[in-house]
């Protein structure tokens, strides 16, 4: 780099003091760049810059068959890989009007909830670490390991398990599946109160989280902030309740809503959702019906020409898949409405006017996964 290009930059009184947070910053959780304008320690405004890992998954889908593109959806929101798979599979089943066996529905729902738990655990770790409580990171990871072990035993992979196929599952779950989940529920019920003692009740944590990042219900709806982040602002957006899929119509669970609208409300929603997921798991795990693990599917899936739309609730919010088919074996156009895309761009709205340390707490409370934005 030549010397001439670099000119002296003199920051005058009227110029904004801009710092670049990211793309390599410990708390942007991926390659996200936030251009933050500061006044003292207070954030005046911020602009998110994305696209560092844009892979063109939507374009790649147009060249793959429906079975092949499943493994691409894993890599959007890798922490809710199973929910992403399920969304695509359900849209194929809808279009072909295939009725999947009950057993498949139950297992898929169990996997949804396990995946949600694993994702929320990782969020809890990372959120604690964002606020400087480094020990929480290891406690969360320690407990998440149990879920990943269950995944590994049944599907062979821990994070990106392209386990769901159009019509059912790739193969049946491991015989130990139910027992291990029951063990895990028992174990995790003893560990969750520890999370509360370590972080939730802590006076420093509460002072850091309460009253910052205020996102009103209107803002949440206007920006399309869904999932736990939206529900922390009393925006009822749980697809599991609105349009039940899988076995969600057979279980009793509450949609967690908080009216606090701040970071702490979003924190409480996720903590309560972990308890709720445990209770859903408990209701389902003993009642998995016997039967086939897949419906009869043709080896080459061709969707009838038309347009299909399907929504599922991932760990971070509403994932909507929109497929335009021209009758071929690969989609004509595939669009993923990913939850993090909308959740990210509310940042400027809810982080302006707070301190730079609050910006970290706010971005942590939105629980962003950057590959989901960049797709």
């Amino acid at each position: 780099m030549s010397e001439e290009i670099i000119k002296d930059v003199i920051v005058g009184e009227n110029e904004d003091y801009i710092i670049n947070m990211g793309p390599q910053h410990p708390s942007t959780h991926g390659v996200l760049r936030l251009e933050v304008c500061l006044k003292g320690e207070t954030v005046k405004y911020l602009t998110p810059h994305v696209g560092y890992i844009h892979r063109g998954i939507e374009k790649m889908c147009e060249a793959n068959t429906y079975q092949q593109l499943i493994h691409l959806t894993d890599r959007m929101d890798y922490l809710s890989a199973h929910m992403n798979n399920e969304a695509v599979c359900m849209i194929v089943e809808d279009a072909l009007q295939v009725e999947v066996p009950e057993r498949v529905k139950y297992i898929r729902t169990i996997l949804d909830e396990l995946n949600r738990l694993a994702s929320h655990q990782l969020w809890w770790c990372a959120f604690g670490m964002d606020l400087g409580a480094l020990t929480s990171f290891f406690y969360g990871l320690r407990d998440r390991e149990h879920i990943l072990d269950i995944f590994e035993e049944s599907f062979g992979s821990r994070l990106l398990h392209s386990f769901v196929m159009p019509g059912g599952l790739m193969h049946d779950v491991h015989p130990n599946f139910q027992k291990r989940i029951k063990d895990f529920i028992k174990y995790f019920r003893t560990k969750l109160p520890e999370y509360d003692q370590l972080l939730t009740g802590n006076v420093i944590f509460q002072n850091r989280a309460k009253g910052i990042g205020m996102m009103s219900r209107e803002t949440a709806i206007g920006f399309g902030v869904t999932g736990p982040s939206g529900r922390g602002s009393n925006f009822s957006c749980d697809v599991r309740k609105i349009a039940p899929y899988g076995a969600y119509d057979k279980v009793q669970f509450n949609e967690i809503l908080e009216t606090g609208c701040d970071v702490f409300a979003r924190y409480k929603v996720r903590m309560a959702e972990m308890w709720e997921s445990l209770s859903i798991l408990e209701q389902l795990v003993d009642n998995i019906p016997e039967g086939d693990f897949t419906a009869k599917m043709k080896p080459i899936i061709k969707l009838p020409a038309g347009e299909y739309f399907r929504r599922v609730e991932t760990a971070r919010g509403e994932l909507a898949v929109y497929v335009v088919s021209d009758g071929n074996k690969s989609p004509y156009r595939m669009k993923f409405r990913t939850p993090n895309f909308s959740n990210l761009f509310v940042m400027n709205e809810i982080a302006s006017g707070y301190k730079i340390a609050d910006l970290i707490a706010i971005s942590g409370s939105l629980d962003l996964v950057i590959p989901d934005i960049d797709r």
């Binding site: 710092i19 410990p26 320690e41 606020l131 400087g132 020990t135 420093i204």
Partner: protein, 362 residues
């Protein structure tokens, strides 16, 4: 008292007389200074390296991990390996940085912690220099390191560093008050600022036990405020790695970074040693009232062991803080100081003065 079986003054005295026999008095003082300097340099390195190792092991066990375990037995040589790595690393010059101040800052920080070590009493008769204003001196010198931090932040020409340095300035300036006032409580009790006098006054019981509740309150305040003063979590806003990547030392690399790193741990050692000296009796053994046998056994433990075990106990508590709590925000940090710690310690001083005036303490 029989606690003088491990008196180091005879050892130091014999060295002094041996040296006096060899050379003139000016050279004696010079060679003694060199000797003491070398001993401190060695001790500084050893304690610093051990503290880094200890911190890693403590946090690892708290987090259900093993911690360093590859280099040497139980990873004991890990920090030495790290030090070698840091020595070999490139020192990156920063474009548009103020080169003189940028290079000066780590030395200021490390010299401040050196200076403070000189006045600490490590054992009976083992103290480099026994000022009559010992408490005041240690406090004054250890708070000088903020100059180094401010210089580091400003001269790096990095925005993150600047924010970190400004935070650090605000933090140390305000927490200095609470540290001073909580130490003042014991100074009021003893009526002296000389560290040796303070220790002698605890021969019949440590101030944390003798000084009723006010001494305990000032001990707690001292712990909190000194944790803040040395920039350690939960008050590590100056480096706040999740917000400012590494705060004031973002742009430093290699051995200059190691200086900051080492100085942080040594500052922790210094405040813990000061707290142990002032509140927990320094090298004084633990005595219980009239249990003669028990007290005799306690006397047989060398005073160096007493000093270091008390210091490391306080260091462990400070580490325990760091690995449990989330970080405070800058305004909350200042609120804690000006709204809670300062009024309470002022009130505490008044109560202590009253107790001393009425002669209610032991």
């Amino acid at each position: 008292m029989s606690s003088n079986i491990y008196d180091f003054s005879s050892l130091t005295g014999s060295i002094h007389s041996w040296l006096s026999g060899l050379m003139s008095s000016g050279w004696v003082i010079f060679s003694e200074m060199v000797l003491v300097g070398l001993v401190f340099l060695l001790m500084y390195a050893l304690i610093g390296l051990f503290l880094v190792y200890l911190e890693r092991k403590v946090c690892a066990i708290m987090q259900n991990r093993v911690g360093p375990n590859r280099v040497g037995k139980w990873g004991l040589l890990q920090t030495i390996a790290d030090l070698i790595k840091l020595l070999l690393k490139e020192l990156i010059p920063i474009r548009k940085s103020d080169a003189l101040l940028f290079n000066l800052a780590p030395f200021i920080v490390i010299i401040c912690s050196f200076l403070a070590m000189a006045a600490l009493p490590y054992a009976k008769g083992l103290q480099a220099i026994d000022f009559n204003i010992g408490v005041f001196y240690v406090m004054a010198v250890s708070s000088l390191s903020v100059v180094g931090i401010l210089l580091a932040g400003w001269s790096s020409n990095s925005k993150y560093s600047l924010i970190g340095a400004m935070r650090s300035g605000a933090q140390i300036v305000s927490y200095e008050l609470s540290v001073g006032l909580s130490l003042l409580a014991i100074v009021v009790f003893t009526g002296s600022m000389q560290l040796s006098t303070i220790i002698e006054s605890q021969a019949n019981g440590w101030w944390i036990f003798k000084g009723h509740i006010p001494a305990f309150i000032s001990f707690i305040i001292f712990l909190i405020a000194s944790t803040a003063e040395i920039n350690r979590g939960p008050f590590d806003l100056a480096e706040a790695e999740s917000e400012l990547t590494a705060g004031f030392h973002t742009e430093y690399s290699g051995i200059k970074f190691a200086f900051f790193f080492l100085a942080e741990y040594m500052n922790m050692f210094i405040v813990a040693a000061l707290g142990a000296t002032v509140f927990l009796g320094g090298w004084m053994p633990f005595h219980v009232g009239n249990w003669e046998g028990f007290n005799l056994i306690m006397d047989y433990i060398p005073s160096v062991v007493w000093f270091f075990s008390k210091t490391f106990f306080l260091i462990l508590i400070i580490m325990w803080f760091k690995w449990t709590f989330p970080r405070l925000r800058i305004d909350q940090l200042l609120t804690l100081e000006w709204k809670y710690l300062l009024p309470i310690s002022l009130l505490n001083i008044v109560v202590i003065a009253f107790i001393v005036l009425m002669g209610w303490h032991f």
